[in-house]
């Protein structure tokens, strides 16, 4: 187990460098004139352009820019944005907010998906099952760019159940609506996978045995069946983290949460290479770590799985 984890961690370092390289290259290719992008439509005077170009090495080639970035990164310096703000400070401010939001979304989605999925599987073909399936279809069909503003309008502004934005302060309550919106992007697939998996397992031999032993139906479904059905769901939750992060780009903008998505959106708009690379690199790390945890969870769920 320990050796497995160490091996995975070592792989992560490689992946990290690979990912930063790719993101840096993409940002470089996308960059045509960051100074103008920052100035909007205002003209930029020649001496200002010259000074900024020199400060951010904008006139140099890809490899030399990458070299500047990496040599700073290895000394722990993530650099500054094109507006001169310290990226590590930005990261430290933005990450807790996004983490809180996505954690709430993950928990909400998982709880809802697993409960409703199991219920739906037990009553397969019934009205409840069909209702849930139709509902997930609706959710799958609705992109978050539509869902987020609509939810804000209906539940925030019209009904007033939630604050319309999380601007006032970032708290459990103000993040609730964005988290629900974010959860809807992943809950449908998770629910359907749970349902299918449970349906399959309900027909398995060990379930018949358990029933024959005289265990209560509740114990059979919620312990024996569910535990064996969770592996694909857990995998999905790990992968869904990516969906959540891309969803956060939209949700954070709509609900004005200054988190990772909020900063990424701005960085991309302003062609701010270091900002985007810094945020995406950390995203990559989080993604890797979560997937490692998911892999380790397999062993907890299925004793037959061992890591060497």
């Amino acid at each position: 187990m320990f050796r497995y984890i160490v091996r995975r961690l070592l792989q992560m370092i490689l992946t990290f460098f690979g990912a930063t390289f790719v993101v840096f290259a993409l940002m470089f290719a996308n960059q045509d004139d960051p100074i103008q992008a920052l100035a909007g439509e205002k003209p930029v005077s020649a001496s200002l352009r010259a000074a900024l170009t020199e400060r951010y090495h904008l006139d140099e080639g890809f490899l030399s820019q990458y070299w500047y970035y990496m040599s700073n990164l290895l000394t722990g310096d993530l650099g500054v944005t094109l507006t001169g703000r310290d990226i590590s400070a930005l990261l430290a401010e933005a990450w807790p907010r996004t983490l809180q939001l996505s954690l709430m979304a993950i928990v909400l989605a998982a709880v809802l998906a697993v409960t409703a999925g199991v219920w739906s599987a037990i009553r397969r073909g019934g009205a409840l099952d069909n209702g849930i399936l139709a509902f997930t279809l609706l959710l799958l069909a609705m992109p978050i760019v539509v869902l987020a503003p609509v939810a804000q309008l209906v539940f925030g502004m019209e009904l007033g159940w939630f604050p319309a934005t999380a601007s006032r302060e970032i708290s459990f309550y103000t993040l609730m609506l964005p988290a629900i919106v974010l959860a809807t992007t992943v809950v449908a697939t998770q629910l359907r996978v749970t349902r299918t998996s449970v349906v399959e397992n309900l027909r398995a031999d060990y379930v018949r045995t358990a029933r024959a032993k005289g265990l209560t139906p509740r114990r059979v479904t919620w312990v024996h069946v569910l535990r064996n059905s969770l592996i694909p769901v857990i995998t999905l939750i790990g992968v869904d983290l990516g969906t959540l992060m891309s969803g956060a780009l939209v949700t954070e903008e709509v609900f004005n949460i200054p988190g990772v998505g909020f900063n990424l959106a701005r960085g991309i708009r302003n062609e701010d290479g270091p900002l985007v690379v810094g945020f995406v690199s950390i995203l990559v790390i989080v993604f890797l770590v979560v997937n490692l945890i998911v892999d380790l969870l397999y062993a907890a769920l299925d004793p037959r799985i061992r890591y060497e």
Binding site: D32, P43, A46, A50, G84, V107, R168, P258
Partner: protein, 544 residues
């Protein structure tokens, strides 16, 4: 047996994460804690150092922290504010500025003439890369601080400046200094109203010409409000009343500048009464705003000017009559009311109504909608069979460009299409390379309320925003004569003559003058916005 454990674990994890989530709140205080303060929405300013701030978000915050030398009265004439007097000698070159005595910065330092000189020198010095540095270019000695690159975009670099002090700035005594311009300019007082001309305290500088680290986060100004705490990036900037302020005292005790990334989010907060003033109601909300806000949905004049430029270097658009015909095919009023729901006004002049010297309909017949005449003129002069209008996709221009194209199509019976480019800078690059991308969507917001600030950058041969390559020697001469003219009135006369050339030549099609479209909550009253897109902080008040 072990069967129950995963459930417990999951439940525990869920409980912990919800708890963690719940505990993080409550660390920021309620912005409306002080009853007599207002919350105004902005976007994250790029910078807050006055000489580095040219975006509207930053300059609004600065307006609360600083007190300008001059401001404008209702008639758009410059009046002294922090200055006792601003006078110019007979040559229109040497300006003498006397400061009002008794003013202090928020840290207690008295405001002296040296504070202005230091701040301006810092702003003009090229290696400091200040966004607003170009405002100082009329001052003698600016060129020494901004040596030109000998070969433009070529490999050679501009030489380092030899000095970091402009020779045109001279201290007379603690409250008096003189500004010598490199060329006479009778309206320099109007220029000095801009936020880059604010003073900086001694505390701002670590040593001569170097801003102390972190000063921008904890700005010290000379205005009616002082910063409370520091600039909380992406969240808010809170300012509170400065008790030692000697100038005109605002009616409110403080402002929370709430930062939004997205206008619609700000609008949602405005409707929810969480935000007191939104200075820019997004286009998407224009249709619902009258119902949501009623009387609290307002608009006022600002300086924005939207137009379509011709690639005058392209042979098919060389003929001014072709350009006039296309202009006459556009029904400006219809677009203003149908697409913009009257949040803008139709433009029939080349300068905004907010400047001295503006004349209604100076464009004449060429800006009047007349489809039959347009078609005749277009056919007579053999205009191109296909018209393209290029616009930047990220600015919400699609709807009106398409509407304009449909009008052109209907009137001229030629094909017209809107061509999106991802960003403004892409359009700009293509124009610089003299690539014919058809008609171009452009806009302009003034820096100071003078005709020259529209005509100079947009239409002179070397104008900083003359992207369409139009050049007219007579126009350039008139502009120069205007700048050198002895009085503001004489200047306006020359500039108006220059504008008349534009009406004959039509290098662009004037389309619209934008307006401040703003809304406010039920907590505030007397909300007004000026032509610089700033909320009038001295008039706004809270209602119980």
């Amino acid at each position: 047996m072990f069967g129950k454990r995963p459930w417990k674990m999951a439940a525990g994890a869920a409980a912990i994460s919800l708890l963690v989530a719940g505990c993080r709140g409550g660390d920021s205080e309620d912005p409306t804690a002080t009853a007599n303060a207002v919350v105004i929405g902005i976007a994250e300013p790029k910078h807050l150092l006055p000489t580095n701030t040219t975006d509207n978000n930053g300059s609004q915050v600065l307006a609360s922290l600083f007190y300008p030398l001059v401001d404008f009265d209702a008639g758009r004439k410059p009046v002294e504010v922090a200055a006792e007097s601003v006078t110019v000698d007979k040559t229109n070159r040497v300006w003498t500025i006397k400061l009002k005595p008794g003013f202090t910065f928020h840290n207690g330092e008295p405001v002296t003439s040296q504070n202005y000189i230091d701040a301006w020198n810092y702003g003009a010095y090229a290696p400091n890369a200040q966004d607003g540095g170009y405002f100082f270019e009329r001052i003698a000695g600016y060129a020494d601080l901004n040596p030109l690159d000998p070969d433009g975009a070529g490999p050679a670099k501009a030489p380092d400046p030899t000095t970091n002090k402009m020779s045109g700035l001279k201290k007379v005594d603690d409250l008096t200094f003189t500004v010598t311009l490199s060329a006479p300019f009778a309206s320099f007082d109007s220029v000095m109203a801009y936020s880059v001309f604010y003073p900086l305290p001694k505390a701002a500088f670590a040593k001569d010409g170097v801003i102390a680290e972190g000063f921008e986060e904890k700005l010290i100004g000379n205005g009616p409000f002082k910063l409370k705490g520091k600039w909380e990036h992406d969240d808010k900037i809170v300012v509170e009343k400065f008790s030692d302020f000697k100038g005109v005292v605002p009616k409110i005790d403080g402002v929370t500048w709430k930062i939004y990334q997205d206008d619609m989010a700000a609008y949602a907060d405005l409707v929810d009464n969480n935000l007191d003033v939104q200075t820019n109601i997004p286009t998407d909300a224009l249709a619902v705003a009258p119902a949501d806000l009623g009387e609290r949905f307002q608009n006022s004049e600002d300086s924005g000017f939207d137009f379509i430029g011709f690639p005058t270097f392209a042979p098919e658009y060389e003929n001014p009559n072709v350009r006039k015909a296309i202009s006459m095919a556009i029904n400006r009023e219809e677009i203003a009311s149908q697409v913009f729901l009257n949040s803008v006004a139709a433009a029939k002049s080349f300068v905004s109504p907010v400047v001295q010297g503006y004349r209604e309909n100076s464009c004449g017949e060429a800006c009047e909608y007349n489809p039959t005449k347009a078609r005749e003129l277009y056919a007579e002069n053999k205009g191109p069979a296909e018209i393209k209008i290029t616009y930047n996709q990220d600015g919400g221009h699609k709807s009106w460009v398409d509407a304009t194209c449909n009008q052109i199509k209907a009137a001229l019976r030629v094909n017209c299409t809107g061509v999106p480019e991802p960003k403004f800078s892409v359009m700009q690059e293509k124009l610089k390379a003299k690539q014919n991308i058809g008609l171009i969507r452009l806009g302009w917001v003034m820096d100071y309320p003078l005709m020259e600030n529209y005509l100079g950058p947009l239409f002179t041969t070397k104008g900083s925003s003359n992207f369409y390559g139009w050049s007219n020697a007579a126009f350039d001469t008139l502009m120069k004569q205007g700048s050198a003219a002895a009085t503001p009135e004489a200047q306006v006369k020359k500039w108006q003559q220059a504008e008349d050339i534009l009406a004959q030549e039509m290098p662009i099609i004037p389309l619209r003058f934008s307006r401040n479209v703003f809304g406010y909550s039920t907590r505030v009253a007397n909300v007004d916005m000026d032509l610089f897109k700033k909320v009038d902080l001295y008039e706004i008040e809270t209602v119980a």
